[in-house]
């Protein structure tokens, strides 16, 4: 039971961190929106799924790659990957802004109960996943192999592949950029102000709708980037992958303290590791159970997540 775990500990750690970084970016999508609106953006999982399709559309339709093409090299490789990343982020960002506009804006203006918003979000995520299901005829879509998965180095028996390295480095960079954006930019300041006190922020002349749209956009961009990394690592996508990934990422956001951007980072990495370790020890079928038990324990002893919510709630 533990032999696999001990033998492959470092290999598991590497893949756990890579998976964790994907979770971090999706969790950022949840946590940004939650921080500002106190609302679970249920459609975020589908925004992620649309992001994965962005990457595939870019490589297949823009660069004409197919399943039999040779992987790219050098400058061409960098260009293709960059365009894929951009397409993923654009797809997901646009989807996120559309979701906000169609499903949430009107309800927010009315100041109605949050459950109505939740159901609207659930309806919206059904629409997003069904549209994609119809477009892809319910079939999984394989991604052409752009990136040759060469093994770069071996540390303590753990192979670090090129795609793992790119995921960790690039996802880390995107995370830092977004975190800095929220921390330092004028818009980021406005976002934080709205998340602390919406009414006061409005009185200070902050354009609430613009802030909220930006929040959704930033969350969508992060989630879309996660879609790109997912496609790069797993080389496939399907209309229904959003659910599991979204659930795990949301759990990560809660573990780190939802609404807290740095919390999303630690939560994501912790969850990625926990998932990979639990799969090795107990078998993959029990990994979600382990995740949820960890979540319940965290919430019982530290109800606002490991790192606390960014903004103290009036009641918590």
């Amino acid at each position: 039971m533990f032999t696999v775990f001990i033998d492959q500990f470092w290999q598991l750690t590497v893949s756990g961190i890579a998976l964790g970084f994907i979770y971090v970016l999706i969790a950022l999508g949840y946590t940004m929106v939650y921080g500002v609106l106190r609302m679970i953006n249920f459609a975020n999982s589908e925004i992620f799924m649309w992001g994965t399709f962005g990457a595939i559309v870019a490589s297949r339709d823009l660069f004409g790659y197919n399943q039999t093409s040779e992987p790219a090299h050098g400058a061409k490789l960098a260009l293709v990957l960059f365009v894929q990343l951009f397409a993923s982020m654009a797809f997901a960002g646009l989807t996120a802004v559309t979701v906000e506009f169609v499903a949430y804006r009107r309800l927010r203006a009315k100041g109605t109960n949050r459950l109505a918003t939740l159901i609207s979000a659930i309806g919206m995520s059904m629409v997003l996943s069904e549209v994609m299901r119809l477009l892809t005829a319910s079939r999984p879509v394989g991604s052409p192999r752009i990136l040759e998965k060469v093994i770069l180095v071996e540390v303590w028996g753990a192979q670090i592949r090129l795609d793992t390295l790119i995921t960790i480095v690039a996802a880390g960079a995107i995370f830092i950029i977004l975190e800095r954006f929220v921390k330092l930019s004028r818009m980021g300041k406005a976002i934080r102000a709205v998340s602390m006190n919406e009414d006061a922020a409005k009185l200070m002349g902050i354009n609430l709708n613009r802030v909220i749209t930006t929040t959704f956009l930033v969350g969508g961009l992060a989630t879309g980037a996660a879609g790109f990394f997912y496609v790069t690592v797993y080389e496939y996508t399907k209309f229904n992958i959003g659910f599991t990934m979204g659930l795990a990422a949301f759990t990560a956001a809660v573990i780190g303290g939802i609404g807290n951007i740095r919390g999303a980072f630690f939560g994501g990495v912790a969850l990625g590791l926990a998932e990979v370790y639990a799969s090795a020890i107990l078998g993959t079928q029990w990994k979600s159970v382990t995740i949820f038990i960890v979540l319940v324990l965290v919430l019982l002893f530290k109800p606002s997540g490991l790192f606390g919510e960014a903004v103290t709630q009036t009641r918590a």
């Binding site: 109960n113 159901i119 309806g123 059904m126 069904e130 119809l134 939802i258 079928q285 009641r315």
Partner: protein
């Protein structure tokens, strides 16, 4: 007619009626509901699935579950995203007991309800201290855990599920049959009526008032001496009991259960029924359960796009009627407070 409001219209008729008129109204409504299975030839007919079977599941069982979930979400304001867990526990109790013992459906029913209530208390004691979205995610996790356990342990037959569940024994000499499910519909209808009666009784008594206070402002309720945790656990457990009963009935109707029937989607769908119909108002909830249970089968002619249409309906109705089709009375609405309980 701009200010016409179906809820106020219905409530108006009820309030103006005397005792005998009220009995007449109740009898009329029950009779109409009981006659529903005979309307299969009308515009209500479902294109693919058998109409009377659709009336039992999803329609009637959805209504029953929506009523149960409404106690938790609507009456006491706790967001439960794992309601399917209790449904699954009820269904598996029926499946396992019917496989290993000679008990029939009606003997299993109290055991199934008891098992679901036990699970409700077990989950409720540690988690009901959490609020709002955290409670939502923990209950969601619980629902998934139950499904994954059913999928992976050997005594539930894993993904193969349990088949050969026995038909319920005849009632008043009338046999249950697969091709004619009218009797089953009436059984579920009786369950629904009992549930409505129970909820209406509870609402006007201490538990109902405590739930209302908790929903509107939990801190204030606690300060006023309402033992909030106790009543929250009560509410959760009652909801669980109804979910368990629905599960037993579902297993008896379907004669086969497998883990894939108890996914998160069921929880979400039932929650959608509650909110769509009018959270907190039992008539709204019944309407919501009936419509959302019935709609996917009715629009099967657009088979491939029906879930898409379903999602669109949810978005549109929520945007234009955020309190649901038949909302609760204005004075019962909680103060809308950012960051407060859902």
């Amino acid at each position: 007619m701009k200010n016409f409001n179906l809820r106020d219209f219905g409530a108006g008729i009820w309030e103006r009626s005397n005792r005998y008129q009220r009995i007449a109204i109740v009898l009329l409504v029950i009779t109409l509901a009981a006659l529903l299975p005979f309307a299969g030839a009308s515009f209500l007919a479902t294109p693919v699935a058998a109409y009377d079977a659709v009336l039992v599941y999803p329609v009637a069982i959805f209504v029953l579950m929506s009523l149960g979930l409404n106690i938790v979400v609507g009456k006491s304001g706790m967001l439960d995203l794992g309601y399917v867990a209790f449904f699954a526990i009820g269904a598996y109790t029926n499946g396992l007991l019917s496989m290993h013992t000679g008990l029939n459906t009606w003997e299993i029913m109290p055991i199934g309800i008891g098992a679901a209530m036990f699970a409700g208390v077990l989950l409720g004691i540690p988690t009901l201290r959490l609020r709002g979205d955290y409670l939502a995610i923990v209950t969601l996790g619980f629902g998934e855990i139950i499904r994954i356990v059913a999928l992976n342990v050997s005594w539930t037959n894993g993904p193969n599920g349990i088949s050969g569940i026995q038909m319920p024994p005849p009632i008043l000499g009338k046999e249950f049959a697969l091709d004619d499910q009218k009797l089953f519909f009436w059984v579920v209808l009786v369950m629904i009526l009992l549930t409505i009666w129970m909820i209406r009784r509870l609402t006007v008594r201490r538990p109902g008032r405590a739930w209302e206070a908790i929903r509107q402002d939990e801190d204030a309720a606690e300060l006023m001496g309402v033992p909030t945790l106790k009543y929250k656990i009560w509410s959760f457990t009652l909801g669980a009991a109804i979910g368990g009963a629905a599960g037993v009935l579902y297993a008896a109707k379907n004669l086969f259960i497998s883990p894939e029937m108890f996914t998160l989607n069921v929880s979400i769908l039932i929650l959608a029924c509650v909110v769509f119909g009018g959270i907190g108002n039992i008539w709204g909830v019944i309407l919501g359960g009936a419509i959302l249970g019935y709609l996917p089968d009715r629009i099967r002619f657009i088979s491939d796009a029906r879930l898409l249409v379903f999602g669109l309906v949810l978005v549109v109705v929520m945007n234009f009627r955020p309190d649901g089709l038949l909302p609760r009375k204005k004075r019962e609405k909680a103060l809308i407070k950012k960051g407060a309980n859902a």
